[in-house]
Amino acid sequence: MNAAEQNLLAGAESLPPAPGFVAGPRRAGREAFERLGLPTTRQEDWRFTPLAPISAHAFGRGDPAAPVSADEVERSAGRPFGPRLVFVNGRLRAELSSAHGVQAGLHASSLQHAIAMSPGLVEPRLARTAPIDGSPLAALNTAFLGDGAFVHVSGGAKGGVVELVFVTVARQGPAASFPRVLVVADPGSEATLVETYVVLGDRPAFTNGVTEIALGRGARLDHYQVQDQPASAFHFTTLSVDQGPEARLSTHASALGAAISRSDVLARLTGEGAEAVVSGLYMADGRRLVDNHSVVEHAVPRGTSRELFKGILDGEARAVFAGRIRVLEGAMKTDAHQSNSNLLLSRDAVVDSMPQLEIYADDVKCGHGGTVGELDPEALFYLRSRGLTLPRARSLLIYAFAREMVDRVALPALRDRVGRLVAARLPEGEQILEAA
């Protein structure tokens, strides 16, 4: 390991004691990261995503007790629209959180608390599906296993919402945090989970989250991630989902900030008739980089998956999209589709879009599509010929491109917030919002 990697791992050996089902994966994660180090562009999955800029900083684990006010959380993460748990540098801060209005059957707590109080629920699911070998960042997160969020959606839950806000505080110096989320959704349950990732402070922040979701038979989960971080931030998430029979997952990510932002989604349809909808909107300008990797694995028959990512790139920004649909032997009647569309606003913006189909079963329907385009000059002229200024006309058309992805957010208050975050990145953004 180089110095940067040693800094990132510092403290992993001196965590408070934990039961075997926590200590075991911790050790495995630590050892894997020691062996693997940070990914390099020599690895196929990281070919277009150089992490060298990270090594320029000495990231130490951020202080979970760092002073943060409720005002600061609202300013960076927006007003809460329901029960909200706030985590500072990976740890739940009760004084910033409110479980007010939480729907019956929906339970959210700190992972630490759940490990101690509900080991029967946690043990069978914790660190079971998130990859460690070959996934250095998930391994690094797992090396710090023990804190984070636990969400239990019991069978009685019908449509409640919980928001988890992860604040990485980087005020004194470069700070790293390792948010961890475990979601267990019982058969037949329904819920919405929102993860919001923000940074406080203007020093470099390194956020490396892992979310594991286990959906029982017929469970339905709407899952959102909103990443709105400054250009001084590095953001990584690994989302690992295991779907039982007839379970439906919809996960939608809005990746709007950070110098380097990378999302890995691994959705496994292990029960017949499951459905996964994986979507996201990403925006990058300047020299920022945004990377979306996903694997949707159909292990059994009659699964459906839909994947749609849209990106808007300006300046010298770079986007990577790698979506793999894997249909295992025997997963007949699989219906999978994937698409990635990109809007390039500058000649120097680059997108590497790589759809991959791996099909080992017969009688399946799989497809992919995608586009890379610029703003339509005819539409621009049409708007300008009516008196709209060039910046306004451009913003309107960019927002129109993004709108489909904003509208995918079913929760009105969150949709509104995401719409504002998108518009705020466009010239005259305030005014174009009414277009929606």
Binding site: E378, F381, L383, R384, S385, L388, R392, L396, Y399
Partner: protein, 271 residues
């Protein structure tokens, strides 16, 4: 002297305009004067440069202007951005209006009107006042209000798109409206509605240029002047009777006459 005063009073003054698309010269010395209150029709066969002319006046940059001048109320149109021309009172009704999914039709029209009002130092209309205005104008063009909640021209039929153009014109109340083939693809009813929209805007301070291939539109909107374009310039101008003559003889007649040099300078032969 009278010519001098005419010139200052002219709303649109185009002189010897030349333009190319790629290496092909499309306008070859186009001149036209439109005075306030007048309705002009520009007719001509396909490829005569009518639509290019209309587009150039509105600031479409597909064609490159290589010579000549165009002024609106004395302002140099060719030096202005498309949005500045709109603010100055120019409106282009598109032959093929663009579909813009994701931008609401109602919002678009209010934004356009307010952008123009703001630039002129006038007060902007709020959503409620604008809706009232839009409703009144929708009646004029017999447009179903449901279309206002769709994306701009999104999924509109050809006729609905043209109605939407006339609606925008009615809302924006331009000084000079240039309607490019506004009649193409319209049935008689739609044509009547479009004509009503144009007539409603007729006033001593506004002018209209109708660009059309067919004289059918001119049965509904009676122009003050008719011009015939061929090979990039106006070869013939006259009153209402010119349209009827064209109807009888066809554009081949104009081409023949032009080739003979009957209209003065012979039109260059297209490459």
């Amino acid at each position: 002297m009278s010519q001098e005063s005419n010139r200052t009073a002219a709303m649109l003054e185009v002189r010897d305009l030349r333009a190319r698309i790629d290496e092909r010269e499309i306008l070859r010395g186009m001149s036209l004067t439109v005075n306030p209150g007048e309705v002009h029709a520009i007719m001509g066969p396909n490829g005569s440069g009518k639509s290019t002319f209309a587009g150039i006046l509105a600031g479409k940059d597909r064609a490159r202007v290589t010579g000549g001048t165009a002024t609106l109320d004395g302002q140099d149109l060719l030096a202005m951005t498309p949005e500045a021309r709109a603010v100055a009172g120019l409106f282009l009704g598109f032959q093929y209006p663009v579909e813009i999914p994701g931008v609401g039709n109602l919002y678009f029209m209010r934004t356009a009107l307010n952008a123009q009002r703001r630039s002129r130092g006038e007060e902007e209309l709020d959503a409620v006042d604008f809706l009232e205005l839009a409703r009144e104008k929708m009646k004029l063009v017999e447009m179903d209000p449901a279309f206002m909640n769709r994306g701009v021209n999104e999924g509109f039929s050809g006729g609905e798109k043209k109605r939407n153009e006339v609606l925008q014109m009615a809302v924006l109340e331009p000084r000079l409206a240039i309607l490019d083939e506004i009649d193409s693809g319209l049935d008689i009813d739609a044509l009547r509605v479009v004509a009503r929209g144009v007539e409603a805007l007729r006033s001593p301070v506004r002018s209209t240029i109708l660009v059309t291939h067919y004289q059918r539109l001119l049965e509904y909107i009676v122009p003050d002047r008719i011009h015939v374009m061929a090979a990039g310039s106006i070869v013939l101008s006259g009153g209402r009777e010119l349209a009827l003559e064209l109807e009888k003889k066809g554009y081949a007649w104009v081409d023949e006459e032009a080739k003979r040099g009957a209209f003065g300078a012979p039109a260059p032969v297209a490459p």
